[in-house]
Each structure stands twice: as structure tokens, then as C-alpha cells.
Symmetry: C2
Subunit: 250 residues, 2 copies
């Protein structure tokens, strides 16, 4: 059955785990019918398509690169196939496109022109770390990267801690992988001893996966072992008194 | 191969779409080896297992119900099988367990006891709506339900709008399905005309899916058609000036 003309948001694996551990079969069917891809990186996109199907006809495909080097005025042109009724796919380097990558820009253009946008299911370190943390999932916030400079990062961490407690919301952020251990140490020394912190590392890799939630006091002095591994960080501090829904919005 | 003893967080479909459109094959392999399930609702959990595999040996399974009627002192006992090395699964009514449901309580206990927790991939209306909206995915917050009373809800909406613009973060919330159309109308009349709002409805249902992002002004007077359908709402207002990462934490 021919694929509806739409912008398909195709998640990509976030580890070397087999494709069928993180991708529903339907995604592969959809990808097999697409020949126009908007991708964060052409090389990794080709490699991913070959992992999904070693016989994927890469040579029949057009790839349009959308990343921080792309000129904003070029983005709209990537949707030209869809304007004439041909489906287009979007893939980021890893995980779900348009979440923590430039893919949202092209989705916004598609929405403005009334095109159909179809997000597909796949691995998200943000969501999976939240599930595995045991922290509050009824309210949460993702902040991307914190400031690099240690004193600014420490004050950002204290603000996240206060906000978690004030609004009863889990606070989530990411870090450049070679700074993971320094960040764990800074969190352990900056946060109050009974504030909970979770480090989720290699989330979808069955052999290397670690998702550990402990009070900050118990993280102090733990030898670092997260450097150069994909990790995500969560902070949760239970409110002193129950938070009303309307307080979340303050 | 025998399954590692761990707490497996098993996502459940969020529509009647075929299982293989939203669930990776690995999840079915994992579920087939589990006989102890902590579930939000026993009846829907059994039905889901039969949808995954019509021959699933339901009669060999133990189900422990974890929802707002569960006594807090009973929750820890649900992990008894895992304490003797037998894998346990967690399933919510729909979507990813421990995100917007009581499952996080049992994950927190497992974390406290140092048990292995394994989140699996599946559909999340929060994440998929964010992907499809075209709004900022580099920073976002999920707030659960807003207050029911219209004037309180309107002021919560204005606070989300201000927060979106101040921190450059997409703001996400849910609503009881029979109030969807009223909520769309209230958003359209409360938000500033050029603030973007997205309604994402039946996200994983290929026939009924609608994900529409428009400025609030264009939502005014649109006839309601979202009542009684699973929907999620997003607000995004672009900042007047670029937001530094450190401002996100304020």
C-alpha cells in the first residue's frame, strides 16, 4: 500500500543494540517506501538505513542535511518533494527527531503549510530515563545543556533543585559525554544530601545499561565511570508539603 | 535465553492501531517470559497481553494492581518475586509506565533496593506530540492536568505562555477527554494571538491522527472536534530575544 504523503519522523537507535529492540516493525515498512530524507548527518543516516535493512536502496535516495551548518533559507526547499505529494522522512543522529536536535525547524515549516506530520515510536533517552528513575513522571522538565563554567553550572543545579521541590517536577538535563563524571561529582557536592539524583547511561544497551537513583549524599565519593558514555541526568526533590496542580504553573 | 531478573517497564498501545506499529519485537520477547505483572488495571493488562500474543498464558500470571486505590504499604510486596530473582513487569493503562501514572512509586522502591530497572521503548503521547508540533524540543516541560475551574485554568494558561517565552521552553499538558473542545476554545481566547498552540489527537492511530499547530488567533472559531478523543496540548511562544541556557534555570 502506497504511503500517504506526509513528513515522517523516524527515530534512530541510541546504541548498538539490535534494531528490533528499539524500533517497531511499522517504522521499517515506512522507511522502505521513502526516498527523500532530511537528516542531521548523511553518513550516520545511511548507516542506520543499512542497519535496518542491508538491502536498502540507498543509491536511489536523496538526503538533505539539516544541522547547525544549514542555512535557514535552505530548509523550506527540503520539503519540495512533499509539496508535490511525495513522502519525506526526518532522522536525527540518534533518538527521536525534533526533540533535542534541529529537526523541529522543518516540522514547523510543514505545520505552517498544513502538511501532515507523522511522528513514529522510538527510543528517547529523556523519556526512558524518566521511566527508569522512579522520580515524579506526572510533572517534569527537560533543559538541554546546563552552563559549562562550574560556578554557573552549580547555581543552575541549585535552581533546578529548588524548582523540583517547589513545583514537584523532575528536572532533566544532558551533558557532553567527556564531562559526565565531573558533572556527577559537582551534582553530588552541590545538591542537598537528601535530594535524589539519577544518572542513566547506555539506556538501551542491554550489556552496559546503568540507571541509578540515589540521594546526592550517596553519590559523594563514588568513583566515576560514566565518561564518554551517553548519559542523562535527573534531579528530584520531594516538596515539603503536597503541591497543588495550580502551583506547578507559578 | 532466560531473562535477567529486573523490573521491566513495558509500554502499552495508546490506540487500537496494530501492536507492531508502536511496539518493538524485543518487548514481546520480554513480555513472553514474564509471569508477574504490576499493572494499573488488571482487565486492560490482560487484554493488552492477548493483543500482543493471542496464545499468551494469562492463566499462569499473577497481577498486582497499582493505582490510586492501592494502599501505599502494599506496593513494596509487589516486588517480592524480584527479590527472589524472578523478573517482574510494569504496565500502565496506556503508554509508557511511570510517566503519567502511579507506576513511578514501585520503580522508586526498586531503585532504593538497588534492583535493576529496564525501561523499554513504546508510544508516549507527550514525546510524540512534541516531535509532531514543530515547537522547541531543546527545552520543554510537562505539567499533567491544569486546574478545572475556567478562571484558574485561564490564569494557568497565561503563566505557561509567559514561561514558554521567558525560558524558550515548550509547555505541555493534558485534559480529561470530554473537556477537550472547551479547553481548545479557552486556549484560543486566552493566549496572545501569535502564541503557537498545538493539539495532538489520536497520535498513533493512522486513520484518525491529527496534529495541528497554529497561532492562537487561527484556532478562534474553529468548530470543536476533539471531544472524547485522547488529546494532548502544547503551547509555544518564541522569546523576544535569544534565551541563554542559564536563563532556562531561572
Amino acid at each position: 500500500m502506497a504511503l500517504d504523503p506526509a513528513l515522517y519522523l523516524l527515530p534512530v537507535g541510541i546504541s548498538d543494540a539490535p534494531v528490533d529492540t528499539v524500533i517497531p516493525p511499522r517504522n521499517l515498512e515506512v522507511a522502505s517506501q521513502i526516498r527523500h530524507f532530511i537528516v542531521e548527518n548523511v553518513r550516520t543516516a545511511r548507516r542506520w538505513l543499512r542497519r535496518c535493512d542491508p538491502a536498502y536502496p540507498i543509491e536511489e535516495c536523496e538526503f538533505y542535511e539539516l544541522n547547525r551548518h544549514t542555512r535557514p533559507e535552505d530548509v523550506s526547499g527540503f520539503l519540495a518533494p512533499l509539496r508535490r505529494g511525495v513522502p519525506v522522512g526526518v532522522m536525527s543522529e540518534a533518538g527521536c527527531p525534533a526533540v533535542a536536535d534541529p529537526g523541529a525547524d522543518v516540522v514547523a515549516i510543514a505545520q505552517r503549510e498544513g502538511m501532515k506530520v507523522v511522528p513514529l515510536v522510538g527510543p528517547s533517552s529523556i523519556l526512558m530515563s524518566l521511566m527508569g528513575s522512579g522520580f515524579n513522571g506526572q510533572g517534569f522538565a527537560f533543559h538541554g545543556y546546563l552552563p559549562v563554567e562550574p560556578s554557573l553550572k552549580a547555581s543552575a543545579l541549585r535552581e533546578l533543585e529548588n524548582e523540583s521541590s517547589r513545583r514537584d517536577m523532575t528536572q532533566i538535563f544532558i551533558e557532553t559525554p567527556y564531562r559526565n563524571d565531573k558533572t556527577v561529582a559537582l551534582m553530588a557536592s552541590t545538591l542537598r544530601p537528601d535530594t535524589m539524583m539519577c544518572v542513566a547511561c547506555d539506556i538501551t544497551d542491554p550489556l552496559r545499561q546503568e540507571i541509578v537513583s540515589l540521594p546526592a549524599s550517596k553519590w559523594r565519593g563514588r568513583a566515576g565511570s560514566f565518561d564518554k558514555r551517553p548519559a542523562i541526568f535527573l534531579i528530584y526533590r520531594r516538596p515539603m508539603r503536597p503541591v497543588k496542580t495550580s502551583d506547578r504553573k507559578k
